[in-house]
């Protein structure tokens, strides 16, 4: 037996998972409230005690952790054109596991600076211009940022011609220069910036967020939780040399405040008469819908889907649905707990959350009639061929409707332009192990992959 402990310091719960990497099994999981205000170890010890009650005393060989506690990794980005370098900055940040709390394009204004100061980002990502291209905007923005007190590190990852100059302008701030996120038009190079983000997270943010007290126990890697999930998904999709993956996939995590969507797929145009527009997206893509969540962001779901649709899906009158939505928005830790109205409403809310978030993540196909007839214009990823959907998050795990809810990630004739999976298996992360397996994958990829394939529960296949 070779037990390893994996910890996820979440915003609400600290979750612990014990794995035996020799037998390739999960020994147990447990969770307790995260105690970031006082001492993070209180919550951790609580969770460990619960775990020990299940597994007996274990002498862990290694211990790895990820965290989204204390607001997670909060980033603000600024780029030049919204669809180009600003979008590249957003993709880079989200893919590194950050929460993008502010996103700016073109020249920053004094009002923007005030907002940025109020947002108190953990990291600022400054980009703009392809290499050899526009320097005016990024230099202006550097000068603007230089007037702020040096409270947060700034990553400079724009036009290389202006990089040094930006660093000089921002000399009183902690700056890091990275290669341009968009060195040429339509070419992304976001990995170096993502590595830098993770490194800053490790070096500075872990301390600032009161996580360092727990680090005595940890051996290695402390990464943002979404980054761990992303790694798990990439492993599950691609596999290793020894163990095959499950191929292209889409994963959805519906939370109380946000909904995260991951896709592992190339997604580029397949047809000859399809023209691609916009920047090509990364194979491993993550998006976060900050307005789509089951409790704190319940209003966002209603706004996106409409109360009429939600009420009808839940089999409630509109007035009653509205009443319950208000109730849930004020009682954010309320779970249905057998209440039939709430169960039905949560089913409708979760379905609409999945549908909205995946539709925003996936690309679109527009048909245009040209003089020659029908031509297709694709923007974003084409996920129609994806055959695997993975779902996680309380509202999907603790319900009997998991599969029905998950099906809303799929293609729908009502939204024919949305390039979502046409037919897919649904896998459920019932034991909430994705982040833990992402952590494990850094050292034991084969074990992590085999455990995921065993633990994820598979629902029916639809063609």
């Amino acid at each position: 037996m070779k037990p390893i402990l994996l910890i996820d310091f979440g915003s609400t719960y600290t979750k612990v998972t014990a794995v035996d990497v020799e037998a390739e099994v999960i020994l147990g999981t447990a969770q307790s409230f995260t105690t970031i205000q006082t001492d993070i170890n209180d919550g951790l010890n609580g969770a460990l005690k619960l775990l020990e009650a299940k597994t007996g005393h274990l002498q862990y060989e290694k211990c790895y952790a990820c965290s989204s506690a204390a607001g997670g990794l909060r980033m603000v980005t600024s780029g030049l054109v919204p669809e180009l370098t600003s979008e590249a900055a957003k993709l880079a940040s989200l893919g590194a596991g950050a929460k993008v709390v502010g996103l700016y394009s073109f020249q920053l204004t004094e009002d923007d600076l005030q907002n940025i100061q109020a947002l108190k980002p953990d990291i600022f990502l400054l980009v703009g211009g392809t290499d050899g291209g526009n320097t005016e905007c990024i230099l202006h923005n550097a000068r603007m940022l230089a007037t702020l007190p040096p409270k947060f590190p700034i990553i400079i990852a724009g036009n290389r011609t202006a990089a040094r100059e930006c660093a000089r302008i921002l000399k009183d701030h902690p700056v890091h220069v990275c290669p341009n996120v968009m060195p040429k038009f339509g070419v992304l190079n976001i990995e170096p910036t993502q590595q830098k983000i993770r490194q800053i997270f490790l070096d500075r943010i872990v301390q600032a967020k009161g996580l360092s007290k727990a680090t005595a126990l940890l051996d290695d890697i402390l990464m943002p939780t979404p980054s761990a999930v992303l790694q798990a998904m990439e492993l599950l999709s691609k596999g290793t040399e020894e163990e095959s993956g499950i191929g292209d996939l889409v994963a959805v995590d519906v939370g109380g405040a946000t909904t995260d969507v991951y896709s592992m797929a190339d997604g580029m145009p397949q047809g000859m008469n399809t023209v691609y527009k916009g920047i090509p997206e990364p194979f491993a893509k993550r998006t976060v819908e900050g307005d789509i969540g089951m409790r704190y962001s319940i209003r966002g779901i209603v706004e996106a889907a409409g109360i009429r649709r939600i009420a009808s899906m839940a089999g409630l009158s509109e007035d009653r649905a509205e009443e319950l939505v208000t109730y849930l928005s004020q009682n954010t830790d309320r779970v249905p707990d057998g209440d039939s109205e709430l169960t039905a409403l949560d089913y409708a809310l979760a379905s609409c959350a999945v549908e909205t978030a995946v539709a925003r993540h996936a690309g679109t196909m527009e048909e245009t009639y040209t003089l020659m007839g029908l031509t297709y214009v694709q923007s974003g990823k084409n996920l129609t061929h994806v055959k695997q959907i993975i779902v996680t998050g309380g509202s999907l795990i603790h319900t009997e409707n998991t599969e029905k809810i998950a099906r809303h990630a799929q293609y729908s004739p009502a939204q024919p332009a949305s390039l979502r999976p046409k037919a897919a298996d649904v896998w459920v992360d019932r034991t909430y192990i994705l982040a833990a397996m992402g952590l494990l994958s850094a050292h034991y990829p084969n074990v992590a992959l085999r455990i995921m394939k065993k633990e994820l529960e598979k629902h029916g296949y639809s063609e």
Partner: protein
Amino acid sequence: MENREKKVLVIGVIGADVHAVGNKILYHAFTEAGFEVVNLGVMVSQEEYIAAAIESNADAIVVSSLYGQGELDCRGLREKCDEAGLKGIPLVVGGNIVIGKQKFEDVEKRFHDMGFDRAFPPGTSPETTIEALRELLHMEG
């Protein structure tokens, strides 16, 4: 400054036009001639030319139109460039920019009035095009 000895051209085929061959030839010819080329391919909207020109700090936008709707598709591009801060950026257009046999002088005049610096008749060779661009961008050689 490094990287900046080369003049940057943004090229593409405007509107709903899918004629891809000439665009590929021009991309290679311009690159060969020492330009840095941002190629947007076919079915390019006015906004796409502008976004690419802003990020790449382009020296000129080269619009192709082959299917005869060029005049309609090009309308307003100059005004949008002005709006986006690309004041005075050279705009050139060529291909088969209008339908049928029209006197090219008239066509040229209409494109000048729309704010294009140069408009080229059908059959203009890449060599002639490159020469004209060099002149327009005040390059020696």
